[in-house]
Amino acid sequence: MQLNRDELLKAYRLMRGIRVFEERVHDEFEAGRIPGFVHLYAGQEASAVGVCMHLGDDDYIGSTHRGHGHCIAKGCDIEGMMLELFAKQGGLCDGKGGSMHIADFDKGMMGANSIVGAAVPLALGAALAAKTLKRGTVAVPFCGDGGSNQGGVLESLNLASVWKLPVVFAFENNGYAETTAASWAVAGGDIVNRAAAFGMPGVQVDGFDFFAVHAAAGAAIARAREGGGPTLLEIKLGRFYGHHEGDSQTYRAAGEADRLRAEHDCLTLFRRRVVEAALLDADDLDAADRAVAEEVEAAVAVARAAAPPDAAALSTNVYVSY
């Protein structure tokens, strides 16, 4: 799957967009302008983008509590997202969802989900709809290493095989579930070892490497689209920040996060690769950096200035009729 210039630029722009978004959210949260709980995706960008580059608006993804990256990769509006995190009118969920429940069904983004693993069966449903209505679309549930031990997720692996659904399970193994090491909590070694147990192929990829993710996801998604059934993808990566904002991270080795940033930054690796191979110029990338920074900055400005939801919104949309 050779990517052309535009596609490469798009991938970079999305990854960079996630990074800048998350770093701004980190600051805004610290400044006390974002309420609630926030889990940052920074460091994992190659996963969301490497997968979602293969998806259209009609394909669905399920997400996690760490969902901003999935949103941006799936095409959600940055300003709408920022407004939502700030709990403001005009946010993607009109301020009633927040970081942990941000969604955009028009973009096939079925929602961040603050119940670990819960989005996996939901995405199965989207795949079932695709299959029943012969849409030719697919669904990709994202799930963490911690989520891989949740019963509903394990059931879903089985059900997807039994029903031969067009699904790709994207397990993002960032090594930790909160403070708990995946190596301790995921028995049987790697998550990918669970694929065969539920009758599907399993592929493990380096999640810092956009190209590796993109290739593996592409093959699995194509297979699903063609009716070949589910695949389990284990994407090994790391998060730059703590579990949530405010996490002291003492469970990490000294300097671990710094090392990740220094040696395993998917953006640096991407830039080096495309520049060395002369696929893109450094100038193009710099321009993308500037554009992204402006977009995020503008979104923050809008979000800060916007009004909170009207009091009337308290009692609307409980049901379709009110």
Partner: protein
């Protein structure tokens, strides 16, 4: 001309008709057809009580899906499918099994519309058996509808007649919100009444006034409507006029019909097969104690099981269930 059929047949007919009228309606559940991968007959069971028998042959395996014993996965999938263009009817064989799959309803389906700012619909029906009286023991006899009615965003339907079962099922499937539909396991074949052949809807949120009367208001749902009706007949013979109200859907609740009646009678008895604490009976009693207090002439009585699990032994189970005699007794007490 009357067409007297069982609740079983009324429901089967409803399924056939909604699936015919709308190609996005699908069904799923354990053994709802039966015989998947097995060497014998396909559609071997049609659900554990045969209620969905015949649908596989009519609508094919793409629309009638058997499942592994993985309730979280398939009910979660039903919720997801509902947001993505289908109208799934998912069967949870017994409501007692909600313990293994509450999340897709509690935290997902119920909250989507609100939490996503009104930007999605979740047209889903989860149908399930409930109720005691057949010796099924503590884990297969519960009436847990109050747990669902507690959750904003879910609708909760409990038919008491074959007519209502069909009309409410059709309305539930056509509805754009998630509905949990309760079918009493002892009523499928014992309840028979006049059911039109055409597809019709009984609107969700409208109570049925089963009998009119000016002395005492009785509120009951599901099988308890029949028990209460028996009590009403007894009391009528003693000169007490009871207005028996069947809300049919306990969420949304037709408060007006109940309150208007209690305003008139000044007396209320609530009958419920669910556990007494924090349940439907208390809910209705509290409603009246707040909203038509000044009309009340007597304490509001609840007729419910004791606050215990459901015993296996049939003699104990019968004592556990509210009975027509206990309901009549409550009516007499509020008339004192």
């Amino acid at each position: 001309m009357a067409r007297i059929i069982t609740m079983r047949n009324a429901l089967s007919e409803a399924f056939r008709q909604v699936m015919e009228e709308d190609p996005t309606v699908i069904m799923m559940g354990e053994d709802i057809a039966g015989g998947q991968g097995a060497p014998g007959e396909a559609d071997a069971w049609g659900g554990d009580l045969g209620i969905t028998k015949g649908l596989l042959g009519r609508f094919g395996p793409d629309r009638v899906l058997d499942t592994p014993i993985s309730e979280t996965a398939y009910i979660g999938a039903a919720v997801g499918a509902a947001t993505a263009g289908l109208r799934p009817i998912a069967e949870l064989m017994f409501v007692d099994f909600m313990g293994v799959c509450f999340d897709p309803l509690l935290n997902q389906a119920a909250k989507f519309r609100y939490m996503f700012g009104g930007k999605t619909r979740t047209p889903l029906v989860v149908r399930t058996q409930y109720g005691a009286g057949v010796g099924a023991g503590a884990q297969h006899s519960q009436s847990l509808y109050s747990l669902f009615a507690h959750i904003p965003g879910l609708k909760c339907v409990i038919p008491s007649t074959a007519y209502d079962a069909k009309g409410l099922m059709i309305a539930s499937v056509r509805d754009d919100d998630p509905v949990v539909f309760f079918e009493h396991k002892a009523m499928y074949d014992t309840v028979r009444d006049d059911v039109p052949e055409r597809a019709y809807a009984v609107p969700l949120g409208e109570a049925n006034v089963v009998t009119e009367g000016d002395d005492v208001t009785i509120v009951a749902v599901g099988r308890m409507v029949h028990f209460a009706h028996e009590a009403v007949r007894k009391c009528a013979a003693e000169g007490i006029g009871c207005e028996l109200i069947d809300p049919r859907t306990i969420s949304p609740l037709d408060e007006d019909t109940i309150l208007e009646s209690v305003e008139r009678t000044g007396r209320l008895v609530v009958v419920d097969e669910g556990y007494p604490r924090c349940g439907f009976a208390a809910d209705i009693a509290a409603l009246a104690a707040e909203k038509c207090f000044h009309a009340l002439k007597a304490p509001i009585l609840k007729v419910t099981p004791p606050h215990t699990p459901i015993p296996f032994a049939p003699n104990l189970e019968e004592l556990w269930l509210p009975s027509p005699a206990r309901i009549a007794e409550a009516v007499r007490r509020v008339m004192e």
